[in-house]
Amino acid sequence: MAIGKSHRRKDVRAKVTGKTRYTDDYSMPGMLEARYVRSPIAHGLVKNIDTTAALALPGVEAVFTFADVPKNVFPTAGHPYSLDPDHQDVADRLLLTDHVRYHGDEVAIVVARDRLTAGKAAKAVVVDYEELPICVTSAAALAPDAPAIHAGGNILKSTSFEIGGSLAEAETRADLTLQGTFRTPIVLHCHLENHTAYAYMDDNDHLVIVSSTQIPHICRRIVGQALGMEWSRIRVIKPYIGGGFGAKQDVVLEPMVAFLSTKLGGAPVKIEMDREECLVATRTRHSQTVTARAGVTKDASITFIDLDVISNTGAYASHGHSIPMAAGSKCCHLYPRAVTKFSAISHYANIPAAGAMRAYGSPQLFFGMESLLEEAARSIGMDSVEFRLKNCARPGDIKAKTGEYEHAVGIKECLEKGSAAIDWEAKKKRYATQTGNIRSGLGVACFSYGSGTYPACVEIAGCRLVLNQDGSVHMQVGATEIGQGSDTALAQMATDTLGLSYDRIHVVSEQDTDVTPFDPGAYASRQTYVAAPAVHAAADKLKRKILTHAALMTDESVENLNLANGNIVLQDQPEKVVLDLRDLALDSYYHKDRGGQLTAEVSSKTRTNAPSYGCTFVDLEVDIEMCSVTIKNIINVHDAGRIIHPLSATGQVHGGMAMGIGMALFEELMIDSETGWIYNGNLLDYKIPTCVDIPDLESEFVDTFDPTSPYGNKSLGEPPIISQGPSIRNAIWDATGVKINEMPMTPKVLFTHFRAAGLL
């Protein structure tokens, strides 16, 4: 079995030896470079643009302004197209605008022979603005007299649902009702490889775009919409990509490079963002205000959870209202016997556009939910772990959102494993009475998540397998490898179903929408879950074709044959080799009278969405005078179904934990609330924790098998980032008696709260 073993990743040798080629490693003769002219104000109208000085610089090819771009308003979110017009993404972008909506908005673009010249010329473009009133915060954007950032006003959408029973009735059953308001920061993805793309035309009718994207097929459609071109005339190529975390689940540069190439006779034109641009002019994580209410009985049953989210989506909709809604629909798996009410409002503001970011609204929502439920547990005098064990999902619970039964549910085991690993009970006693400047605390928080987007969006995946002349197999998948390891996981699946050795499966990692099977891309922790059925079916199909050909070559019937370890063997006597697959492959290609190229291709749709679960346990120390937190021990425990590749899975969890700690204790994009000016759009002032700030990370998995996947696996890409914030917040409370209902819990924030509480 290949599954469950940490095989050498398909890309690892090339990556560590520097051989993998990324978008910026490709170049073409005559490639031009483009740089945006960005707005220095957060809200205003362009009154005049003077490009004379820019055009006069040697090496400048062209300058385009908002007046030159197609008037096709397009959406940018990396969602599959929806047949339901009401469910389609909000189209609110033009390639360039004369109505700037955030500090950094794009009014013009310069194309030059090199990047330096383009940058110089962009600075030489003179723009006059008429300044408009600015709203940065939710309160300002939702005020009755707020300036309209888009024609329809500042409210993007507002929705709510109530499930699992009646809230009014559940309120009457509660012995105690609690309420709290929680604030989360704007966080940046900080993927290693900045956004970069180039485009050229390889004849008069077809555009080729090479881009660092998580969503090549969606990108093709959106470029078509933006330029008013037939989708089939656009070809998107994705080479290796240096991370995205959701920032590349949006179409950002591709329509622009495509537009520029069409305007410049098909010449190759590239935009390579620098880090500072990438931080503020692509996408961010939504800052949210979560007002949570919960009711509990004296015997510790949660009767209801009522969550109300205000989500600031910034200057443009991007993923917009999908962010709070997705998190809302995934959170009700955790405590399914409580009534859940969820409401959310998404609004525009004069700040950078927020989009998809790892775990898509869930870290924000669970910060509110798991912080408030901690208060519920403490209010009735129950241990935090015991309280969660009593209320969490069990096999056989009904999923309130769909009415289906839960299958594999491992949250109880996660809590038990984590509690034992951190030595919860002994430490609880030890930390019970503390005084002095340095105090220790314990915290726990749980989460639930989904595997993909169904039923909100279509879940389609594709796999093509080709038996090569030498008996190995080439695999092409629509699943997009962005560093998460999907190529490897899917190769392991094909290995097991085909009966080949792992080394005999070659994965075509580069995606090319002209030839790659269709799949919308890497997001929603969907990739291994929704691609698994396609891989399974394609492998099964190819195996049958191989055995059919084996039957032609031998006297055995298909039913008597099997493929194992790369050989054709007898079904009943697997040790008996009938044919070497290499010989069979040569025969299928070159025999003059029988066979052919043996291939299998499957496109499949997934109509299930398995919930995954987990929790974070943390043991930390607070130095009150120094306003600092030191994590002594932090453990994530996950129920992600069957673990396909343990080493990659651990890597995913560690990476997520580090990002989660960053959001909890360090990171925030700071914007002046009056002017919309961005203070810290660079990696010195925007504080990602360094390796000395991140403690040793521990992770565990519980053993479940989800029957909705042919290989038992569930989501794992995003879940590791969800529960650090509330667990750290709960541990700081445990240590100091101070509840901090905002992230990040930086020294400055701790100072304010400790002083208010009289500790300083």
């Binding site: 940058g119 010195l684 924790p689 360094t690 700030d693």
Partner: protein, 291 residues
């Protein structure tokens, strides 16, 4: 690619000084950890460079018979940190420099740059102030020696004139002999950061009593500063909770922290008080051995 307009590779100190004097606005390129970053950002005023990386005489770290220590302005942070003269005699300097950036920055950045760029947050500034550095400067009129006291005149500003090139730092033996010292960098993360507040202390004991006490801060005023009021409270004192509290109370008179988006005045003041106590205790206890 960097938008460099003029570049001159200096062949001698005199050549560098002549060029600096002749072309106003020329920036000295040493380690490049500030200048190249500014250039990359496209900041104006950095297009004219004089590269002093060929001037190896500015890299020397030495001590004469009197115990006076000389540190060349081009010595990198790593070269200073790993130098025996430094670790034996002024270990708090090495401790301070270890808090700068990451290994790559320390391998190329120089202390000359750290002091001469006038940064309010310079991690070497507290050490310079408590060890009372002198600065050996070559100008068009010849060589002169200036004290670190008064060298910084404001954020990003120093007394250096057009045509001046810092050659070396000078530390006299009376300013380090029998002193214990320590530095604490208070920042928002453990590495790759600029100080929210930096605090250094040097202390000479006479039995149980403090004979001489020197306290310095960065980011607590428009320039790195010493704290005369706070220092006075410690003269003749015994290190105790009470004397440290007096110290913390007195330090408010020496500092002028301000509110910015990075941190509020109240928060900075709290950290200044906390660090004054902590760094003093650390200087006495650890002899400057740990951060």
């Amino acid at each position: 690619m960097f938008p460099i307009e003029n570049y001159h590779y200096a062949t001698s100190v005199e050549d560098a000084v002549q060029h600096l004097a002749a072309y106003e606005g020329t920036k000295i390129l040493a380690g490049g950890t500030d200048v190249l970053v500014r250039l990359h950002e496209g900041k104006s005023g950095y297009g004219h460079l004089i590269d002093i990386n060929g001037l190896d005489e500015l890299k020397t770290i030495s001590m004469d018979e009197s115990g006076t220590i000389f540190i060349g302005s081009r010595a990198t942070f790593t070269e200073i940190i790993t130098n025996d003269i430094i670790s034996r005699n002024v270990p708090m300097l090495a401790q301070s420099l270890l808090t700068i950036g990451g290994p790559q920055v320390r391998n190329t950045g120089t202390m000359g740059g750290n002091i001469c760029n006038g940064a309010v947050s310079a991690d070497s500034a507290c050490a310079a102030l408590v060890y009372e550095f002198d600065l050996q400067i070559q100008g068009t009129e010849g060589e002169r020696r200036e004290s670190i006291h008064g060298f910084h005149t404001g954020p990003g500003r120093t007394i250096l004139q057009q045509g001046d090139l810092l050659k070396s730092f000078v530390i006299r033996p009376e300013n380090y002999t029998d002193f214990k010292a320590s530095y604490i960098k208070y920042a928002m993360r453990g590495a790759m950061d600029i100080a929210t507040i930096g605090c250094g202390a040097a202390i000479k004991m006479h039995g149980e009593e403090v004979e001489t006490f020197k306290l310095a801060f960065t980011v607590a005023a428009p320039t790195p500063i010493r704290c005369p009021t706070a220092e006075k409270t410690m003269k003749g004192a015994v290190i105790s909770e009470e004397s440290l509290k007096r110290l913390a109370d007195a330090v408010a008179a020496d500092v002028k922290p301000r509110t910015s988006w990075r941190a509020s005045k109240e928060f900075r003041l709290h950290i200044i008080r906390t660090l004054a106590k902590k760094v003093t205790r650390q200087a006495v206890d650890n002899q400057g051995g740990t951060c």
